[in-house]
Amino acid sequence: MTRLLEARQLGFRANEQQILSDVELSINRSEITTIIGPNGAGKSTLLRLLLNLSQPTSGSVWRKPGLVVGYMPQKLQINPHLPITVERFLKLAGASRQAIGAALERTGASKVMQSPLQNISGGELQRVLLARALLRQPQLLVLDEPVQGVDVTGQIELYQLIKTLRDELDCGVIMVSHDLHLVMAATDTVICLNQHICCHGHPESVSSHPAYLELFGRKHSEDLALYTHHHDHCHDSHGDIIDDDHSECNHD
C-alpha cells in the first residue's frame, strides 16, 4: 500500500472566511476515496489545495515525488477564441491518436472526437475531461463531480469505468460526488466534509455516524439507506426484490 498524498492540518481562509480547517487525510494506491458534503462545504477547495492549485493558509500537503495526476475540474471554462477540436485537446495530454480513440470510446464520447471543444454539450464535456484524465495513465485520479450533467445511462457506466480503471492502472482515486446512491457502493473510504472532516470511514459505517446524520438529516439518510439497499440486491422490472446475484445485476 503506497501512500500517494497526505494532507496535514490543512486550513484555508479567503475573504475573511474560514473555508476549511484542520483537514487530515491520506490517499493510497488502488483506493477510492469519495468526498461528500453539502454545497459550499469546501470540497472543490480541498481538491485544489491537494493539487497545489491554491496555497493553504495553514498546514501542508505532501505529495509523492513524481506523482502523475489526472485531474478533472468541476467547471472548465474554455477560451472561445481558440479553435480546438476534442481530439487536439486530448492530444495535448501527450497521447497517441489511437489511445485517444480508445479513451473516448471508454467514456462514451467517441461521437464528438472531431467536434470543436467549445460546441460540445455539458455532458459530453464531462466525458471528454474524464478521457483526458485517464489518458495520462495517472497514479492518482482527482475527479470533481465527474458525472455532473451526464445522462443516467452514462452515470452508472462512468462510475463503473472509474472502478475498472482503478483496477487496471492500480491508481488511487479521490472524487467528489453528490450521487450517494451510485457512489457509496463503489468507494473504499467516504469523507464527509463540511468545512472540516465531520466523519470518515467505510461507507456503511459513515452512513450511520451521528455527524453524517446531522449533516444530511435523518430523512435523507433514509433515502440513502434505500440506495445502499438498492445496491445490496437487485430488483426485477416490477421493483420486487429478487435474489442477490452479483453477476446478473452488475452491482457489487
Binding site: V69, Y71, L82, I84, T85
Partner: protein, 261 residues
C-alpha cells in the same frame, strides 16, 4: 523596381513566418495590444537610456523584456484582466516617459519612426538581425509548442499535468517582447503588431486546430506582404502601411465570406 523591394519583402516575409504563430497566441490570450503597449513603453526605455547613458537601442530592447516580465508577474494575481494591465502599462509608461523627457532638455525621440518604421530602408544588417531573432523565437516556439498550447488552453490542467506554467507564460511574453522590440526598430510598431494580429484573426475563421490557425496565419501574412508591396510599388505609397492595408482588406474580405454550414 523588383530588386529595390527585395530586401524589404524578404524582411517582411521573415517576420510573417514568426508572427503567424506568435500572433495566434496573442489572439488566444486576448492581448492584441501587447505590441502597442511595448511601443508606448519604449519611450520610457528611451528616456532611461538617455538618463543612464546606455545605447538607446539596447535600452529599448531591455526595457521591452523588462515590461514583459513585469506584465507576467502582475498578471499572476488574476484580479485584473491582462488587457487592462496592458493599457495601464502602456499609458503609464508613455506618460512617465513624456514627463521625464519634458524635464530634460534637447532630447529628440523619433516616435513616428518607432510607430511607422521604414520598411524600405531595411538593409542587409537588419535582415541578419531579423533572421537571427526569427530563428531563435521560431526554434523556441517549436520546441515548447505543446507546453505553450497546454498553458493557453487551460493553465490549471497544465499545472496539474506537471508543466511549469509561470515559466511558459514568461517564455511566451519574452518571445513576443523580443520580436516587437526588434520589429519596432526595423519596420515600425504599426507593421509588427498588425502582422501579429490581423493575419491570425483572418486565419481564425478557417482553422479547426491551433496548428492550422498558426499556419494559415503565416499564409495570410505572406499574401498581405506581397499584395502590400505591389500596392506600394504601383501606387507609390509607404510600404508598411500598405502591407497593413492589404492585411486589413484581406480580413474584411474573408469575414464577408459565408460561414461553413
Amino acid at each position: 523596381m523588383i530588386e529595390l523591394l527585395l530586401t524589404a519583402t524578404t524582411a517582411a516575409l521573415l517576420l510573417t513566418a514568426i508572427s503567424g504563430p506568435l500572433g495566434s497566441f496573442v489572439i488566444w490570450k486576448r492581448i492584441a495590444y501587447f505590441g502597442d503597449t511595448l511601443a508606448h513603453s519604449a519611450l520610457l526605455g528611451v528616456a532611461f537610456g538617455i538618463w543612464f547613458n546606455i545605447n538607446i537601442q539596447l535600452a529599448v530592447v531591455a526595457y521591452c523584456l523588462l515590461s514583459a516580465t513585469l506584465l507576467t508577474r502582475l498578471n499572476r494575481s488574476k484580479r485584473i484582466a491582462l488587457d487592462t494591465l496592458l493599457g495601464i502599462l502602456s499609458h503609464g509608461s508613455l506618460a512617465i516617459g513624456l514627463v521625464l523627457l519634458s524635464l530634460s532638455d534637447n532630447i529628440f525621440i523619433d516616435i513616428n519612426g518607432l510607430l511607422f518604421g521604414d520598411l524600405l530602408a531595411v538593409d542587409t544588417t537588419d535582415l541578419y538581425i531579423i533572421s537571427a531573432i526569427s530563428a531563435l523565437v521560431g526554434g523556441l516556439l517549436c520546441y515548447y509548442w505543446r507546453q505553450l498550447l497546454s498553458v493557453t488552453v487551460h493553465p490549471e490542467l497544465a499545472c496539474v499535468e506537471g508543466i511549469n506554467v509561470p515559466r511558459m507564460e514568461l517564455l511566451l511574453m519574452l518571445c513576443l517582447a523580443l520580436i516587437v522590440a526588434i520589429g519596432m526598430q526595423v519596420v515600425g510598431v504599426l507593421l509588427i503588431t498588425a502582422l501579429l494580429i490581423i493575419p491570425a484573426a483572418t486565419a481564425r475563421k478557417f482553422a479547426e486546430t491551433p496548428e492550422q490557425m498558426a499556419i494559415y496565419a503565416i499564409g495570410f501574412g505572406a499574401i498581405a506582404v506581397l499584395l502590400g508591396m505591389t500596392l506600394s510599388a504601383t501606387a507609390d505609397s509607404a510600404a508598411g502601411p500598405s502591407i497593413v492595408t492589404a492585411a486589413t482588406l484581406l480580413f474584411l474580405l474573408t469575414q464577408a465570406l459565408p460561414n461553413r454550414q
